[in-house]
Symmetry: C2
Subunit: 397 residues, 2 copies
């Protein structure tokens, strides 16, 4: 099993500690799996204290032996129950801390209330945004994991072409994609940070399914086969001459790749074919314009303007109440990472960001078309990490 | 698509309102998908206000049309942004509320802090335990959904026997189980309430994989194929004469079934065969003793005593730091529902609870054996809902 290289962890901690100092914090206490994994290399049940200066302490509730094998941190201690935890926290530096960072976007209220009672001297500050901004820029190790995940997606898009036939259900295609992903080493889940956001590993959306709005913060949701999940594949069967949009995600060593391709048995209706071509052209435009220093909001505006010129405003990134106001998002340990390629995201592209860029068009009653690809920001532009040809995938009836 | 029958929702609300009155609350504000689904029939992006008396209001942030189709509630209003939300909350009854219930175990701290600032007159009380206690007892509709999910698990356990062969990887078997589940209509995720608890849809654990401890609150974790997920199937290949433990979950209309069976190509080592037989006998004992009124802690103690008499104490429900202190759990919209069949769970079985009962034994370096089945508590005993024969499943080499 591949572990996170120790120098990755040490580098991440060092740069994050400079952020903490800049924000006037004495340290942070991290509780969430993903953030703990990023700074320690393990997701075993634990809490991580990172002081602004000095060595962090990982307090382990379950999986102690495994933590010792997986994490390069020096201070790893077993804790048992809440009173032991509070004593340990005191021992390892929270005593006397006045400004403590917490992940207020994900930390459960119950834990927050407990911390407020246990450390009455502390003022709590949200550090989620700092962590997420730090995680935007990837190391070569991180990008390599995304490349591996992207290779599995490509394999899936190739293999699945043999199974997309008239009369086959969306759910059967979804299941085959799940099989391919796991067989090739997909870690089994896709993580999303947003509150109440839940995801199936793929969206297989044929015809009108592609235009069904869902709670998910995505241009397409799909009906799913129950209001209890309300997204993704259903028992609807594939037909000729309609778009079959497939959004597909895979995770390798925590890192996600995220892609979308449109398939059709036969031909798309002319307006949808035009919109698919427009998605391709927006990708080309992005590949020309995107480079370090370009504001994310500008990249969004450019794409929206292009779609508008093509007369596709009403279908751009969803339709009606399903329309979303972004065209891309960062990608890493979570699928909804920074930066957002969105009108109200402050910031510009920087070298070694990874972006999932997804110009899509949704036609009510007809479906979703477009393409999503993952790009690495290089010193002078972007490099595409996803491997599948940027074309509508036409299948013989 | 099947919707939640309106009378289910009305009945749930009515009984929950009697709980709220008994606790002296003026109402509750629910934010989490699962709780909102239970009381409204939809998981579209929304917030649900249930006053102790009168009609609830569902405030919808995304998916308004879908909510109107899915939910039988009368007051459904669209809200847009936080200030609109706070005004709407004021309009629909939170104004003047003094004691407001919240889901403090899952609500993010950020939202909690916002609520505290927005409604300074309110005292907040945790209602998670009340909701979870209320959800313990299932209606006939809910039990039917679990039966449907259990039928898919059985189909999976039958089909997978054709694929478990020497040299096949755990991940390939896991992938085939994913394919079968989705093809048959599995909703695509399994929900777990516990903080930081994450689950793959199945655990396929062969030989020593079955004894690898993980952060998951389960007797088995497995190595997984990365520290970033750290549970479930890996690239390890199946061998002869070792246990292949398969934990498998499926969800239908939100409701989960959860089962475990042990497979072997050839024969188990004698001590593991004995432990598997002991799991079978503990199931028989449960089927004889379990009925309304029997304390959950007694059922745990009885099983533990039986395992102890068989000399299997050290391996019962995990080994070493992986040992967990429960032998069963409630099952419904979440996989970690009440009641717990555990020494420190207060309460007894009641009619129409559904319990996943999982006597398992973990042998370091050798693996996990046992069986898990789902039971409905009837007026006089329990009825098994899972369909697969209660036997070790022996396959020809």
């Amino acid at each position: 099993m591949e572990r996170v290289p120790p120098q990755e962890i040490h580098q991440r901690l060092a740069t994050f500690q400079t952020d903490l100092a800049a924000h006037g914090l004495d340290g942070v206490l991290l509780f969430q799996n993903v953030d703990i994994f990023y700074f320690s290399g393990t997701i075993q049940s634990s809490i991580l204290f990172i002081p602004t200066q000095g060595d962090p302490t990982l307090m382990v509730q379950k999986g102690f032996q495994r933590v010792k094998e997986e994490s390069p941190l020096k201070n790893i201690v077993a804790v048992n129950g809440k009173s032991h935890l509070s004593n340990t926290l005191q021992d390892f530096g929270v005593r006397g801390v006045k400004h403590l960072g917490l992940e207020l976007d994900v930390l459960p209220a119950q834990l927050y209330v407990w911390l407020a009672e246990t450390f009455p001297q502390c003022r709590f500050v949200d550090v989620s945004v700092s962590i997420r901004r730090r995680r935007m820029v990837k190391s070569a190790y991180e990008t390599d994991q995304i490349r591996k995940a992207a290779a599995i997606l490509h394999q899936g898009y190739m293999e699945i072409q043999g199974f997309i036939k008239e009369g086959v259900s969306e759910l059967e295609i979804d299941g085959r994609l799940a099989f391919i992903a796991r067989r090739e080493g997909h870690m089994g889940i896709l993580r999303m940070r947003g509150w109440n956001q839940e995801m199936t590993h793929a969206h297989v959306l044929s015809g009108d399914s592609g235009s069904v709005v869902s709670f998910l913060n995505s241009p397409h949701g799909g009906s799913g086969n129950t209001p209890a999940m309300a997204q993704g594949a259903s028992f609807r069967r594939i037909r000729k001459n309609e778009p079959v949009g497939i959004d597909y995600g895979v995770g390798i060593n925590g890192y996600l790749a995220d892609q979308f391709r449109t398939f059709v048995i036969g031909d798309l209706p002319p307006q949808l074919a035009k919109a698919h071509q427009c998605s391709r052209e927006i990708h080309d435009l992005f590949a020309q314009e995107a480079k370090p220093g370009v504001p994310c909001a500008h990249l969004y505006a450019m794409a929206k303007e292009f779609a508008s010129q093509a007369g596709l405003d009403d279908y751009f990134m969803g339709h009606g109440e399903g329309q979303v106001r972004f065209i891309g998002h960062g990608l890493g340990l979570e699928i909804d990472e920074f930066p957002l390629i969105a009108p109200n995201f402050e910031g510009a592209l920087a070298q070694n960001m990874v972006i999932a860029y997804e110009p899509k068009f949704v036609f009510p009653g007809q479906g979703v078309v477009g393409m999503e690809d993952d790009y690495l920001v290089t010193p002078t532009g972007v490099e595409r990490l996803t491997l599948t040809e940027q074309e509508l995938i036409k299948l013989k009836p």
